[in-house]
Symmetry: C2
Subunit: 471 residues, 2 copies
């Protein structure tokens, strides 16, 4: 490490550390229109890996990808009352197209329930067409007054799933399946993130849903981030668009629907959950580059060795990159890979070659040690898995150590304001207590059952509210 | 086949056949805002495969993916004079955001040269930062007065590459490399499309480019479709955004740039190049489903056999789907797979089982024959490759048989108007002749050298103009 810290230390100023890291690890820049974002290649590479892992899991549920228009007639938004109330303040409106004022303005999609139901109502005719399971990868626009890169941007990238089912039970079960088997599985097993699965309170529900399931993660400063949500929409949108099917017994029935989404915000979560004062730490299973092999100097033997090692690691299934850019000082490259959080660096110089060793630098636990070059290929896959597991453990331990069991709303507020989470019986807090939290910018992140499972209902006895400040 | 044709025959009404096919094969629907498009799962599956194949080829050039904002400050568009003139009539303009009128309207990107140069001018400092090779997969909006699904839509999906280089020669060579090694290779070897690589005339160049390379395909009605383009931008955008680098000798130099794009229009080309009166014919290397194994009846032994066959074909690396939806009449399913153009159907019924055979139906050459079930696994991969090659041959033969060598602009017009292409020496046609073609809605699709290669310049001696009506 250079003598002056490359990043503002987290303890000094967490938001500034976050911004420093995003910039110096070359994850993203601000775009010229307020609140928009340029996702740089290294940041986009994280998103591409997230997409691959999520897309596989989504397709395993039988869901197919499709694409719906960016522009939605303004009148559509008003068809579902709660939905329009939720989104109206955030809309970007196209009033001119092709050099003329439009007869009806179009909104840039903030989410696609409306436009997708316009199609669903045509595609669904009979019970044979159900369940209809659709996902799209797309950009959406929600005008943001206090933007922050990845966390709150006026445009972001996401996947949004939209499904229609014959019965309430099927829709409920599907939303729950996505919540746990797609989102939580991906977050725990790829992102190495400890997340709490739960149910939103009525106040915190998605605009137009009858139930919202969420995954909440604790960031490095003890605040919460909503990582992904899965909604039961009931028949609200089906009514608005008259999406009906012919049942087996010949009657016309409204479908039951779900929607569910996860966004580029997960990149921000990755930074805030796993980052440290030296930069990002990317979980090995997510990393586009798991191992970087660095030539310390532009010595012919060194260059030959790093390239050979790169080929061997690649053949062993490791996602490896060879850094032979010896016209750039070694120290600068080492700091850069540290900032970018590549899990393992293998550094090779002329002296290492003489000893038959390389310096193995592990970004996640930290520390470096010389190892025999010939042992690297068998060694690295298990090191990567070990470090993957360590990140998950660290994030779980942080949450556990910074979560307080409390008995009163005041204690909950105090815990949240001082940078942690609180757990309080929902029967103690209630909607009145929830309103009081709001006065201190504290919210109920989710409700969980006593045994940690997701409650069957909002007001089930034994529900515990998880309370925090949130991004 | 059903007795009444499922589609309007091509010979009767080609545009209507196209629309029928898009609808009945469930490729796409019209969106509610004029000119927008809903890409249905089967159509989107074609796009996903195109993306996978293209993305691999793009990354092999050293290009990285990134993402730039949808919304561009309106003032940016005016910085490059030809560019704004080219795009101004097609812009969608956001005037309101977050409930307020914006101080400066934002345009929805019609292409991203402008916003990407705003980043490039910050990212490029020294010759060490070059070449900078960036691609993005995104949606763009170009207001369309006469929309047609996939071919001309107000919103479409594409990839757009943007690169910056130290010298003119490097930029020129990179644009040419993308043109042939990415686009032409993909079209010939995956899409099975005969395409003519050439150079655009000055009149037909991209707005803001100094040279546009194109690939032109002949559709089933003899008209041309521009399949993808690769542009040399010279220093036009570098000047507009002051994108400079510190050269090795310490001077500040403008970069040389390229941009290149291919779009969901390729799905339209797929339909019009390979489709027949029974539906689409998907090239096996592109197909998400290469082989569908159909159970003719819901007999237990039949169902067991089709599932077993599906598993064996999958294990052999064939992209296979089992159709055991025996609650839908067999005939309807067979017509549907024919419409969708799945290359091979394997049909299994109780009588086939008795004989140890299945009916093998090949969509591309047409025709059906019983084959021993046990021979299918070794047989199918070579059949798929044979049919892939046949599609390419058919498209080349069509172009060759419908292209006339002509000596005068009148003959060129006649050939184009009667549904074919003409080749005429550019020295005979010239810009005056090109203007005359325009009066008959005929254009120079590209210039090619006498030996079929791409000419080094617009006015190289021996250049031949390829002339046609175009979509």
């Amino acid at each position: 490490m250079a003598k002056a810290p490359v990043l503002t230390p987290r303890a000094d100023d967490f938001p500034r550390w976050y911004q420093d890291l995003i910039t110096k690890a070359e994850l993203a820049d601000n775009g010229p229109v307020r609140g928009t974002m340029v996702i740089r290649p290294y940041g986009y590479g994280l998103w591409e890996r997230m997409q691959q892992e999520m897309d596989t899991r989504i397709k395993e549920t039988g869901t197919q990808n499709a694409y719906f228009p960016l522009l939605i007639p303004q009148s559509y938004l008003t068809r579902e009352a709660e939905h329009v109330e939720g989104f109206a303040p955030e809309l970007a409106v196209v009033t001119h197209g092709g050099g003329k004022e439009l007869e009806e303005p179009a909104v840039v999609r903030p989410t696609s329930e409306m436009i997708i139901n316009a199609s669903f109502s045509k595609w669904v005719q009979s019970y044979r067409d159900l369940p209809l399971l659709i996902n799209q990868w797309a950009n959406v626009v929600r005008w943001e007054l206090r933007p922050r890169l990845f966390l709150r941007t006026s445009e972001f990238l996401w996947q949004e799933g939209h499904t229609a089912h014959a019965t309430y039970e099927e829709a409920r079960d599907f939303a729950a399946h996505i919540h746990r088997e797609v989102y939580e599985d991906f977050m725990a097993n790829v992102l190495a993130m400890d997340v709490v699965p739960g149910r939103k309170t009525v106040k915190e529900r998605f605009a137009g849903a009858i139930n919202t399931l969420t995954l909440e993660g604790m960031m490095g400063d003890g605040k919460a981030l909503q990582m992904a949500t899965s909604h039961e929409l009931g028949q609200n949108f089906a009514k608005a668009f008259n999406t009906r099917y012919l049942s087996r017994d010949g009657s016309q029935e409204l479908v039951w629907q779900t929607s569910w989404g996860s966004t580029t915000r997960m990149i921000g979560a990755l930074v805030m959950m796993h980052g440290d004062d030296h930069g990002l730490r990317v979980p090995p299973r997510l990393a586009q580059t798991q191992v970087v092999v660095l030539a310390i100097k532009g010595d012919e033997a060194v260059l030959a060795k790093v390239r050979e090692l790169g080929d061997r690691l690649k053949a062993a299934g490791v996602r490896v990159r060879v850094d032979d850019r010896t016209d750039i000082p070694f120290g600068r490259r080492a700091v850069d890979w540290e900032l970018k959080g590549v899990p393992v660096r293998v550094e090779v110089g002329p002296r290492d070659l003489e000893n038959g060793t390389a310096m193995l630098v592990r970004r996640i636990p930290g520390g470096k040690a010389p190892v025999a070059i010939d042992s690297l290929v068998p060694l690295l896959p298990s090191i990567l898995e070990e470090d993957q597991a360590l990140l998950l453990t660290q994030s779980r331990e942080r949450r556990e150590s910074r979560t307080a069991e409390v008995a009163t709303p005041d204690e909950a507020i105090e815990a949240a304001v001082s940078g942690g989470w609180a757990r309080i019986p929902w029967s103690t807090l209630g909607e009145e207590g929830e309103a009081r939290l709001g006065e201190h910018a504290v919210t109920v992140r989710c409700l969980v059952a006593e045994d940690g499972s997701v409650p069957d209902s909002y007001d089930a006895p034994g529900n515990v509210a998880v309370v925090a400040r949130a991004y």
